[in-house]
Amino acid sequence: MNTFKISSKNLVRNKLTTILNIILVAFGVGILSILLLAANQIGNTLEKNARGIDLVVGAKGSPLQLILSSIYHIDYPTGNIPAKDAYKLAHHPMVKRAVPLALGDNYNGYRIVGTDTSFTKLYSLSILKGNFWQKDLEVTIGSTVASESKLKIGDSFFGAHGLTGNGDIHKQHAYTVKGILKPQGNITDNLILTNIGSVYKMHEEKPEHSAHHAPLAEAKEINDKQITALLIQYKSPMSVILFPRMVNQSANMQAASPAMESARLFSLIGVGIDTLQWFAVFIMAIAALSIFISLYNAMKERKYDLALMRCLGASKSKLFFLVLLEGIMVTLIGACLGLLIGHAALEAIGSYQESSQAKLTGLTMVPQEIYLIWTGLLIGALASIIPAMQIYKVDIATTLTKDR
């Protein structure tokens, strides 16, 4: 028998009120934790995948779309740019590293990316099994692709035209899996990597034409052709101003900065997040009010109990703590339940998500969640402080002599 037991017994006695209050707190905290986790995970994904990429050059169109398609592999590409122009940019003195991308095909929804060895350096990829692709039609697949599509080294498959679906299959050429990448924790886990020549080959009418690509060096691969985009790393931060302007002056290319476009994307979805956040705060406020009202009302009846406990020798401060503890217990249980709900809901959302590129999971924690629990405790304490103050006003003698 202790203060904790007395408080909890009293909460159990008023089951319905207690449950209502717990649910209110749980919903508020739940929504906040979903927002917190989702924003954190999306931010992480965006940041991780864009690491080391200062600029993306692609066909004119929406810069956001260009970023989404060539870094995050979510949206459709804006179009193609002449490989010759891209080659010129790639060898510009301001550029430290340029990674060409040729997109357009997929296998079961996993994008097939034609690129060269600079891609592996950009993402510091390493091989788990087998080798990197070397010749046309050889591919190295990401770890998620390997585990979910059950492709093994030596297997071959047909790519399909487009970025999703199996509608238009390139039956004339089959890819062969040469290697599987180590899990990187970024977008490359979901990609199928090959050389640019393979992508060209897929889209040519005459198979024999591509024969002359094979023996050529990688840099030559991109001559006379088109590629989808070029990921660029600067030599010095100074280029941030000059280089994009230079690219944008050309007739058919544009430069998009991942940092700027991510910020823009966040400001677009930010309105929704803000609204939800305020909604959650509103629910929490109602929870606090509800706890306050139920404790305050209960004080009328509990006055006898509290006077009795005073009579039995309890000090005022002990009883003050007793009432405070009830409010805190409700919000603590609510906050923990809310975190559980938040994680479970996010895991459920993640499992229904179509795009494997930005999958959400409820199985990770973020340190800010501890603040949610603290907020819960604080709200409980605030809501119960006024009812608890009543303790100091109760006149034991008159309360106990009067009838209930």
Partner: protein
């Protein structure tokens, strides 16, 4: 030993009450008699440390109650004075045994499970240990409040009209138990009442 001397209380409305001096030796049993409105409850509240008198002092075993700081007074009351009210007040969310334990916990004393059970047995209500107050009758509840008042082995037991809401049979039982149990536990007893049924059991009277 309990001693009150030159005690007077002034009510909010200005009415002034003087109480005659009173000495109660260990294990003595007293009736506090008087017409209603003459200050019986006020005196009991003063003796039990719930109401600070305007003048005078209350000594329980040499401790002057109203020189103690509030916190110590609460604790002293919990440990040395057992109070039984006109209406039995029990905590509804706790069962009978927990209600008894509460008395020890609130007074900051260790819980003596065996003693609590034997107290209930002595009052003939051992079978109710796990019941909740809402399930019990007034007579049963009043017996439980007697048990609770005795939990901490108090020096003084104070009962304010303990029988007024009970029928003859229950009233007799409660009085008998009050007198025998206080004796067995070595406590002094004060019963404030105007109930004739109580008078037969106790000889010493203090008249207001």
């Amino acid at each position: 030993m309990i001693k009150i001397s030159s005690l007077a209380h002034v009510y909010d409305k200005g009415r002034r009450l003087k109480f005659p001096n009173w000495e109660i030796a260990d294990m003595e049993q007293w009736l506090l008699l008087g017409a209603s409105g003459c200050g019986k409850s006020t005196l009991l509240n003063i003796i039990s440390g719930l109401l600070k008198p305007t003048e005078g002092e209350v000594l329980i075993n040499g401790t002057d109650l109203y020189t103690l700081p509030a916190r110590k007074l609460d604790r002293f009351r919990g440990r040395h004075v057992g109070i039984i009210f006109q209406r039995p007040h029990l905590i509804r969310s706790l069962d009978v045994l927990d209600n008894l334990e509460l008395a020890a916990v609130m007074a900051g004393l260790p819980v003596d499970h065996e003693r609590n059970l034997s107290l209930l047995a002595g009052l003939g209500i051992a079978g109710l240990a796990k019941n909740y107050p809402d399930e019990l009758s007034q007579g049963q509840l009043q017996r439980i409040s007697v048990a609770r008042a005795l939990v901490n082995k108090p020096d003084l037991l104070i009962a304010d009209e303990p029988t007024s809401s009970l029928d003859d049979e229950n009233a007799n039982q409660v009085i008998r138990m009050l007198t025998t149990q206080t004796k067995d536990n070595g406590a002094a007893l004060i019963i404030a009442t105007h109930d004739q049924r109580v008078r037969e059991h106790i000889a010493k009277t203090y008249l207001l």
